[in-house]
């Protein structure tokens, strides 16, 4: 041991954790041969049964899509056809771990080669199944992380996250991974600190670790000085969070008494169960991709109508801004998006919606019908030129006419646009007829800085507080003020304590943040004088 090892990465879920490192990737290395074919076969049989039991136990604790995923995995695992090839190989002298891996690799390759995207996407489930049985075989499954451990590895599967007991604290540190991943979202909603993009370590990772997921660093084999500093930061963060939670029910206001509206971003209506509508000023961004990413395919008008109506009724009469389908880029939707070499600059957002009027008009009808149940606004993502806005509003008008003719109740909501393509931010005057602007700071930043959001190698360039990005935000806000067009911001910057003072100075008075950041955003606003 030669002193502390310090690694830096990108925070994916804020917070601090101090505990023993638990290496997830050492798992596969420790399979011990059982000596005979019969014993190998018995070991695989036992491992499959144990993995099934774990999955069933896990399924009992989840709801919605997570349950569907687990039930599918469970059914696959219960089918002897899945393991038949592995048992044949064992008879021919292959050890159980290799036989199982090879059998599943064959299945996975079959799914990956499928023409249909729905089937291709199931390869991930098969990989998850492969790993779970392998974990039991190599007794990695018995090697549950100790309470409060920091899980370290290349990446982490959703089942592993769900199966881990986080009640005693702990955290996640990943060599790769992404802050936009499903696991990162789960970590934020459960308050589990997580860092991604740490890169490969030069030496063995073991012992006590200090995980600082507020700034994005981890220290292994820390000195007593490291521990002291860490605990100071950790305590301060804890205090800040507690104070913020106390203030969360109060309306946000700057130090000098300027009110700021803080709304929430909703990715899935499931999230709403944990939120009190009184703690926020409405929904600034409701994504609709969750409806489109189910294994059951594209949603029909009725399913959408029910989902939108539910959110509007939950919000009482507070505003709810629903964004029309924003697929493409880093959000592929099987059966809808197309494969492209450079998806962030391709057919995504409104471009794709306009290219698929069948899908888009069903969504428009669902929104028009839901609009009678609350204070709805609708916004279009990735608008670059005015013609896109004109075509989208025309499509809404057309569907409204059809609903009127059919005698169906509906209402036309205000129709606004996202400001995320630089062309809109530079020349907002070309959009003086929109009902509102909502600045999507994540995409605006990646396009202004030419730094992909999902690429950790250029993460430092991807800063929403770069003067160029802030200037565009200030320009759009000022244009809106002069022309009485409401301007809000719904990117991650709105919930970032370091960015909030700069956003308020740029003139913004409406921000929308993920629910987990609501309290800290309000606390940060209270510290700013504008």
């Amino acid at each position: 041991m030669s002193g502390p090892l310090r690694l830096t990465g990108t925070p994916a879920s804020g917070g601090y954790a101090e505990g023993p490192i638990f290496c997830m990737d050492n798992d596969a290395a420790s399979y011990l041969s059982k000596g005979s074919d019969a014993a190998e076969a018995a070991a695989l049989k036992t491992a499959i049964a144990a993995a099934s039991e774990q999955l069933a136990a896990l399924a009992a604790t989840t709801t919605g899509e997570a349950t569907d995923m687990l039930e599918f995995q469970l059914a696959m695992l219960a089918d002897d056809s899945l393991s038949a090839a592995a048992f044949d190989a064992i008879k021919a002298g292959t050890p159980a771990d290799k036989a199982w891996s090879a059998a599943l690799a064959g299945e996975i390759a079959g799914y990956e080669a499928a023409e249909d995207e729905y089937f291709r996407a199931r390869a991930a489930d098969l990989k998850d199944i492969l790993q779970q049985v392998l974990d039991v075989l190599t007794s990695a499954g018995n090697r549950a992380p100790p309470p409060g451990a920091i899980l370290f590895g290349e990446d982490i599967t959703p089942t592993r996250f769900l199966a881990t007991d986080w009640s005693a604290g702990g955290g996640i540190a990943l060599a790769k991974g992404s802050s936009a991943s499903h696991v990162a979202m789960l970590a934020r909603s459960r308050g589990v600190p997580m860092i991604v993009g740490l890169g490969s370590a030069a030496r063995e990772i073991a012992g006590l670790a200090l995980l600082d997921a507020e700034h994005g660093g981890i220290v292994l084999q820390p000195t007593s000085g490291d521990i002291e500093t860490f605990r100071k930061f950790s305590t301060a963060y804890g205090e800040r969070s507690r104070r913020a939670e106390e203030g969360v029910m109060k309306p946000a206001m700057t130090k000098n008494g300027v009110p700021v509206r803080v709304l929430i971003n909703v990715a899935d209506p499931v999230d709403l169960d944990r939120i009190d509508i009184k703690s926020c000023d409405g929904v600034g961004l409701m994504r609709t991709e969750f409806l489109f990413s189910k294994v059951t395919g594209l949603p029909d008008e009725e399913a959408q109508y029910r989902a939108y109506r539910k959110v509007l009724e939950w919000a009482a009469d507070k505003p709810v801004t629903i964004r029309t389908i924003d697929a493409g880029g880093d959000k592929p939707v099987p059966g809808f998006t197309v494969e492209e070499g450079n998806p962030f600059l391709g057919l995504r957002g409104i471009r794709l919606a306009l290219a698929r009027p069948d899908v888009f008009s069903a969504q428009a009808r669902a929104l028009l019908r839901a609009a009678v149940h609350g204070n709805l606004k609708v916004m279009f993502p990735m608008v670059a030129v005015h013609e896109e806005y004109a075509r989208a509003t025309a499509l809404f008008a057309e569907e409204a006419k059809k609903l009127a003719a059919a005698g169906e109740p509906y209402a036309m909501p205000p129709l606004g646009i996202m400001v995320e393509v630089p062309s809109v931010a530079i020349a907002p005057e070309l959009f003086s007829d929109v009902a509102f602007f909502s600045i999507g700071s994540n995409d605006l930043t990646q396009y202004v800085m030419a730094a992909a959001r999902d690429n950790t190698a250029v993460a430092t360039l991807n800063s929403a507080t770069h003067p160029a990005v802030l200037r565009l935000i200030a320009d759009v806000t000022e244009f809106g003020r002069q022309h009485h067009i409401p301007v809000s911001l719904c990117g991650d910057a709105g919930g970032d304590a370091a960015a909030i003072p700069l956003l308020l100075k740029a003139g913004l008075r409406d921000v929308s943040v993920v629910p987990a950041q609501l309290a800290l955003a309000k606390a940060a606003i209270a510290g700013v004088t504008v």
Binding site: T63, G64, D68, E71, F72, A75, M76, D79, D80, S81, L82, E107, G110, A114, D116, Y118, F119, R122, D125, D268, P269, V270, L272, D273, V295, T296, G297, L298, P299, D300, E302, A303, R306, A307, K310, P334, G335
Partner: protein, 103 residues
Amino acid sequence: MSATAMAQVEITHAVGLHARPSVKFTKLAKTFTANIELALAAEGPWIDAKSIVKVMAARAPMGTVLHLRASGEGAESAVTALVALVERDFDEAAEGEAHVRTA
């Protein structure tokens, strides 16, 4: 007692016989003791309708005409029940509603 039954049904579900529909289909098939097989064409190949691995491997998209055949005890009711499930779109519409309500 070796009854046999055959039927054809078109898959109208938007993504075909995919993960969740396959789970439901094979679960229902397994509640019958009859030997049940399915094929995507009248001439086969016929596969075990109780095996989700094989049903998924058939990759039956929307619009596929599913051929079902069963033999043994309860063959007739097995085929009737499975055809009804496919015709009901695997109860996905009702499922979706339940999903939203619990959400």
